[in-house]
């Protein structure tokens, strides 16, 4: 019996030479090899040929294969080339219950038809205001100097400090601090200072050992001191968080905190919303990867999802990676009969085909977890040809008819949630609090040091990972439970993942209605989270 590895390792270029050769010189080998074929035969009769290693490596007569017609590539890479585990349908997925059930509703979703006006073609573009620069190309990474990282981080701290001036400083000279003081300067009395929460040598914050990395002075000198938070009533902190502190630092080795300011929500976007009653609402559907169950690579949840999308096509379909999760068991064990790119291209082809003839525009967001995109964060757009997709980076800020939509495929909520420490114990809405941090820190990834599986390029994060304005809609698929929440006038949607381990997950559909005059966009968003 041939082992599955034999087929996997056999080079495909040899493979078709071989087959042509055998077909012309002698009867096809598989005729008397049917019982050796564990992969299931193709109905057209061009089944996998199992030959010995010697034949695979030494074609008898190369000349004969020249001029022969070579089968098309896509013909070869069908599921027959996959090993049985890759191609067997998941029973658990097929046996799932509550198909299509709505699990979360937000806004007036009951009265919503979720049908898109076919005469309306909303324009999807990258945000143009606030000097936002979209990341469009791959860049070199792993070239960062520690010095640069330090400077970038310090600059970010100072920028947010400028924004917090109104609460932190007292420019009028009414007794408060007039400027930020570094921790190097030894001063009696109250100071206002800036810096980051620092977890010290341990990787997580402990309530009795929260450190504070003060901003650098003009000599690039900084200082790390422990915080005395006994005077502060409540706080929620995580490593890397930029905070402004009012307090005393008389000894120079401990900061007694009187008041703690944890960032500031960015300003409202300035672009006018061009969704009008005449055009009708914009329909969005959002799904986050992974799109296949962990037991196979058949993308059953994706196919089912696309079927529902096709039945009721939205204006915009946003798909966030990973399409091919580097953590997928079959990728980890390398039990594949084809290249990663082939699988990914097939995925794109399936998506493009399912939406053929509809007005739906598809937005693809990469993920650093995807084997088909760069491993670095911020992640440049997918660079795989095929299909008519809008490819954006992770993270990205979109402008859909004036509505600013923030997208990130990275599970920042989960990452902050692991490190966050808060007091007094808040029993309600921890997820809302975590989402709050992202807005207040004005960053798609404020956690530092980053999660151990993340490779964050600080320099690029400074350019592409900031929130210059408050988005109307924030989409962040997370491993934490799905939710739709309004936080500081921004609707945050966590559609969770389309495939959840062995079974199906959830996706979101969102309707952006024309806002009533005088009210913000928040009241004009309806959202529904559905099971696939």
């Amino acid at each position: 019996m041939a082992s599955p590895y034999f087929i996997n390792l056999a080079s495909f270029s040899f493979y078709h030479q071989r087959e042509d050769l055998h077909s012309s010189t002698r009867p096809r080998q598989q005729q008397h090899n049917d019982d050796h074929d564990p992969y299931g035969s193709d109905p057209s009769g061009t089944a996998v040929v199992v030959v010995t290693a010697k034949q695979a490596l030494t074609p008898k007569d190369k000349k004969k294969s020249i001029g022969k017609q070579v089968r098309s590539i896509s013909d070869q890479f069908h599921s027959a080339t996959l090993s049985p585990t890759v191609a067997s349908p998941s029973l658990k997925y097929a046996g799932r219950t509550n198909l299509g059930k709505s699990v979360v509703q937000y806004g007036a979703s009951d009265n919503t038809t979720w049908t898109a006006n076919p005469d309306f073609h909303p324009e999807v573009k990258m945000l143009k205001d606030f000097e936002y620069l979209p990341l469009t190309k791959a860049y070199k990474f792993m070239f960062e100097k520690a010095e640069t990282v330090g400077e970038v981080r310090n600059d970010l701290t100072l920028c947010l400090g400028d924004e917090m001036e109104d609460v932190m400083l007292d420019k009028e000279g009414e007794g408060g601090a007039e400027r930020y003081t570094t921790l190097i300067e030894e001063t009696e009395g109250m100071i206002s200072t800036l810096g980051r929460i620092h977890c010290g040598p341990s990787t997580r914050l402990e309530a009795d050992g929260i450190m504070f990395e003060g901003m650098m002075d003009s000599w690039r000198m900084g200082k790390v001191v422990p915080l005395d938070l006994s005077q502060v009533k409540g706080f929620s902190l995580f490593p890397g968080q930029i905070v402004g502190i009012k307090g005393t630092n008389s000894t120079g080795d401990k900061l007694h905190v009187q008041e703690l300011v944890d960032g500031k929500v960015p300003p409202e976007p300035s672009s006018p919303i061009t969704i009008t009653p005449g055009t009708g609402p914009v329909q969005l559907v959002v799904a986050g990867g992974p799109f296949t169950t962990t037991s196979n690579l058949l993308y059953e949840p994706l196919s089912d999802f696309l079927t529902t999308v096709r039945d009721n096509p939205p204006h915009v379909l946003i798909l966030l990676g990973p399409f091919l999760d580097a953590g997928h068991p079959l990728l980890v064990s390398n039990d594949l009969g084809e290249t990663h790119d082939t699988i990914f291209k097939r995925c794109l082809r399936i998506i493009a085909k399912a939406l053929e003839g509809t007005l739906t525009q598809v937005v693809l967001v990469p993920s650093s977890r995807d084997v088909c995109s760069s491993i670095v964060y911020p992640t440049p757009p997918y660079d795989v040809p095929g299909g008519n997709f809008i490819r954006v980076s992770d993270p990205a800020l979109l402008d859909i008819e004036g509505v600013v939509v923030a997208l990130t495929a990275t599970d920042i909520l989960f990452h902050i949630g692991k490190k966050e420490i808060s007091t007094p114990p808040q029993t309600r809405d921890r997820l809302g609090r975590l989402a709050h941090h992202i807005l207040k820190q004005r960053s798609f990834y404020p956690l530092y040091p980053a999660h151990e599986k993340m490779c964050v390029n600080s320099e690029k994060l400074d350019i592409y990972g900031q929130l210059p304005c408050k988005p109307h809609l924030f989409i962040l698929p997370s491993g934490l439970r799905y939710f739709v929440k309004e936080v500081e006038g921004c609707v945050m949607v966590n559609p969770e993942h389309l495939a959840k381990g062995l079974t199906g997950g959830t996706y979101a559909r969102i309707e952006l209605r024309p806002p009533a005059s005088g009210t913000g966009m928040t009241g004009a968003i309806n959202a529904d989270i559905l099971k696939v």
Binding site: K92, A146, E147, V149, G150, E151, R153, N154, H198, G200, P201, S202, R204, L205, E206, A207, D208, G209, I210, M211, E213, G214, M216, R220, M221, G222, K223, V224, V225, P226, L227, D228, L229, S230, D253, K254, T294, L413, F414, G417, K418, I421, S422, T423, P424, P425, Q426, T427, D429, R430, L431, L434, G479, L480, R481, F483, K500, G501, L502, T503
Partner: protein
């Protein structure tokens, strides 16, 4: 080749068993394996010798009577630097080697049988040798001297110097936490970082136990999370990760069984719903397997 020269030239290489922990697979030819074979003349009291990568400054600071570096005797060493001066006599060549931390004389005795060309000035070279003091001046007695052909050797050498120092420090402090690497690297972009941990307790009076969900530990560690008794018991079960359920976490049935008698099944479901809405736990392989987020 090496052991021949060592035996004939310097006579310094006693027994085998060079105690180096630096994997010499870097293509720089600095393999510890090649030193590992016992020399031809094995002395009775077998000394454990090690080849230490050092900077010239360290060599200059060695005490001539007690060649001790971070608690280890320096016998054989590797230094790397630029040749500033060459002085050729009939029996030996004296080089002055500078690696920007200092300059030292390196003596290479000439072998009458093999015709050796002395190295030129301004050559970057690597020296394996021993430490000698001659008329009060510190010198390196070179056993082997070779020009650097790949600049990565220099980088590798610097890394080895740092690594050796850290390894030795760790050997010294073993048993007391062994956190050398940590202490050295923890100071990050903050500049002159005073990253030492303070042991003083920050007073957090009247706040319960805020370290509850971070500190880890058993029983009553969750007082700070504001959970009900039922939620607490369920969360405790989920937090304990055993080997058989490493990835997927605990199943709903398992949790129900664990808290049976204490919490009713309906309450377990409510608690699971609450904990996942709050982001304390998340579902893994399907909707009936849970893991804790802080694990």
């Amino acid at each position: 080749m090496w052991s021949d020269q060592a035996a004939g030239g310097g006579g310094g290489s006693g027994g085998g068993g060079f105690n180096t922990s630096f994997g010499g697979d870097d293509g720089a030819g600095y393999g510890t394996q090649q030193f590992a074979s016992p020399g031809p003349e094995v002395k009775k009291n077998r000394r454990i010798e090690s080849v230490l990568p050092l900077t010239i400054n360290t060599v200059l600071e060695l005490d001539e009577n007690n060649q001790d570096y971070l608690g280890t005797q320096v016998n054989m060493m590797t230094v790397m630097g630029l040749i500033c001066e060459v002085d050729v006599t009939s029996t030996k060549v004296t080089y002055t080697l500078d690696d920007t931390t200092g300059a030292i004389k390196v003596i290479k005795w000439l072998d009458s049988e093999t015709e050796e060309e002395p190295l030129m000035e301004n050559t970057y070279c690597r020296v394996h040798g021993t430490f000698k003091t001659y008329q009060g001046a510190k010198q390196v007695l070179a056993l082997h001297l070779e020009p650097v052909t790949n600049l990565n050797w220099v980088t590798a050498h610097i890394l080895e110097v740092v690594h050796a120092a850290l390894q030795l420090q760790r050997l010294n402090t073993q048993g007391s936490g062994g956190g050398v690497g940590r202490g050295t690297f923890a100071g990050d972009s903050g500049g002159a970082g005073n990253s030492g941990m303070s042991n003083s307790m920050v007073g957090l009076g009247g706040m319960g136990n805020p370290s509850g969900d971070m500190g880890g530990g058993g029983g009553g560690a969750f007082a700070g999370m504001g959970l009900t008794a039922a939620q607490k018991s369920v969360f405790e079960v989920i937090r304990t990760v055993s080997d058989d359920c490493e990835d997927s976490g605990h199943s709903r049935e398992h949790i129900r069984a664990k808290v049976k008698g204490k919490v009713a099944p309906q309450q377990v479901d409510d608690a699971l719903f609450f904990l996942s809405s709050e982001g304390h736990i998340y579902t893994t392989v399907d909707e009936d397997h849970f893991r804790s987020t802080d694990g």
